[in-house]
Amino acid sequence: MAQPEEAGVLRRDVTVWGSFMWGYADVGADIYTALGLVAGAAMGATPVAFAVAGIVYLLVGLAYTELASSYPVAGGGQYFTLRGLGDVWGFVCGAALLLDYTIDISLFAVSSSGYFNFFLPALGVHIQSFAVTIGPFVGVNLLWLAETLAIIGFLVAINYVGIRISSRINEVLGVVAIIGQVVIVVFGFVFAWDPHLVLLQIQFQFPTMHKFMYGSSLAIISFVGLESISQVSQETRRPATIVPRTSISLVLNVLIFALAFSVLGMGLLPWQVLGAHPGDPIAIVAQKIPIIGAIAAPMTALIGGVIVLISSNSGVMSASRLTYSMSTFHLLPEWFSAVHPRYHTPYRTIIVFSGVAVVQAILAFLTSQAMGTLANMYAFGATFGYLLVFVSLIVLRFKDPYTPRPYRMPFNIMLGRPEDGGQRVAFPVLAVIGFLGVGTILFEVILTHAIGRIAGPAWVLVMLLIYYIYRRRAGLPPWRALPRNWEQAQRETLRDAEEFELLAEYEAALADKAAREGQQA
């Protein structure tokens, strides 16, 4: 158990902009890598592939908005699944999302240092000259690896010190990135975009159904990261009020940017050119723009480096807060739940799971396709986790209709008859559609992603083994949910969040429930 002096609470430091940027930091970087990969697969239908994935993402976003505003605690999807489906599924969801976060740290640290390497030739340094052969591993780039490890170390340090610092870094860097992206999109559309090229490519370069499915499953990668807002909701001021706004804004922003970049790219270049540059597609797009074209490449490299750096930072934050939540609920050893007495941060989880990301980065550098290896597993964790979140949302509507929902997914069917002593339940039709959509994409991922379909489930199984051993040693039932007083927990959460109106509403709903139960008895 955590010592009393160590057990603390996470501070509510994150503002509206901070909450938005935690999500944007994670999702905003994805388009920088996804555009080239999707163009290579979906060909002329690249904007359509983004739109299809965007619809699924929209539904995921609405589900997260409802759950994160109703249950504003650290843990995100793992917590929602724990409440809806119990300990084992809560842990499985947490393990899947943890895979994503650790990959988020390593993948974007690799990518960020890759973008910064763009400037090395100007200093007379050539990155390829640092590639060496170590035993059977050929082309291991020691400088790039060292840069990656240095970035992870830097991010660990700022998250260790406290969220106020790292949140501010996110906020400042995010503004720079958004302004840069807006400049590229506006200049591109006004001065260089050719609508005929878009139409020609859609008409004559449409892919086969199999390739399109592969492309749309890759496109979902560009939308991974919404979970971060939920993760930081326990540290957000007035989360039930702010989180719905920041979540919906993030969903719309990312959709707008993803569609804008894909339509712009297809109106500037043939899909083959974008597909041939999976590492820097946005820079290739920017190069084609008049006026800013001369400086577009370095500017895009700088923005790319910045935005993927904050994405990596978001991964450190989310991984540590997720494991903090899991240990609090006895899904991982309580050792992880210790909060630093001075900085009020879950410092042990920050160090341990950033360490996992370091191992992933080192192993990835031993393969010929470091980024490809990491990216292959990225979609598995997200889609698997999202699938469980949709199920949890539906189950929680029945199990816990009393918790006030400041935001509710639209299109519901009302069930139950209050005149018979029952509670009315709003059955979420969109959640069912979202479940089917995410399920389809998970199926595509398993079908088409060679590394993801093996490494993803393997990670979950290994984590499940760790869970089993921990629960047995701690004398806790491995396969049964522990008894928990969710009502009291919800009261404390709302009181702590200063959401007094919701607290009063919750108390009234519980009083009605007690009165009904009394009448029935």
Binding site: W17, V185, V190, F191, A192, R245, F500, E501, A511
Partner: protein, 195 residues
């Protein structure tokens, strides 16, 4: 090289920037935070189950019953109409006071009619007490009232007093919420304070 400005591209750019601006504008317009006390009031009005209304033969009582009914109607709360027969200390508490009781029954009957107009359930209670405020508080306590609605009768005030003694005591001592209804100034002009 001459710059070419595309019309459709420009329109898309404007739409793109406008959409982003609208989304951010909406995101930053966060509603004001309600303090705990205010939030409680908003919720308790919706959660009223039992409302106690002291009644006498006066327009102020009818106003109070009408107000209580309007507050109670959305959630079909119960209205308890109370008439307190003030028994002087020179008499035993169970002394028969037929005139006062008859006046009370009359006031309660008027209140019941108002409640029926709003299709609300009501109870009439006539109780003896040494002072009206004691009787009101006793009924409120026994019926687990969520709210007491008091009609302010200008005739009952003494010169220099803002509230009558009974109203002041109920406001001070009630454990539930208390609402005092004072008519608008134009209505008050027709009613002169007692001298």
């Amino acid at each position: 090289m001459p710059l070419h400005v595309g019309l459709l591209g420009s329109v898309i750019s404007v739409v793109f920037v406008l959409l982003l601006a609208l989304v951010f504008r909406w995101m930053f317009r966060v509603p004001r935070q309600l303090p705990y006390e205010v939030a409680q009031i908003r919720r308790t009005v919706n959660q009223l189950r039992t409302v106690v209304v002291p009644v006498v033969r006066a327009l102020s009582s009818e106003r109070a019953v009408e107000l209580a009914c309007r507050l109670a109607q959305p959630q079909q709360a119960k209205i308890v109409l109370v008439h307190v027969v003030e028994v002087p200390l020179s008499l035993p508490l169970d002394a028969a006071m037929p005139l006062q009781r008859a006046a009370g029954d009359e006031a309660i009957a008027v209140g019941v009619t108002i409640c029926e107009t709003h299709e609300l359930a009501s109870d009439g209670v006539t109780i003896p007490a040494r002072s009206a405020w004691e009787g009101i508080l006793r009924v409120a306590r026994e019926r687990h009232a969520d709210l007491i609605v008091l009609g302010l009768d200008a005739k009952m005030r003494r010169p220099g007093e803002e509230l009558s003694r009974n109203v002041a005591q109920v406001v001070r001592r009630a454990s539930c919420e208390v609402l005092v209804d004072r008519p608008a100034a134009a209505v008050m002009e027709h009613v002169q304070p007692a001298s």
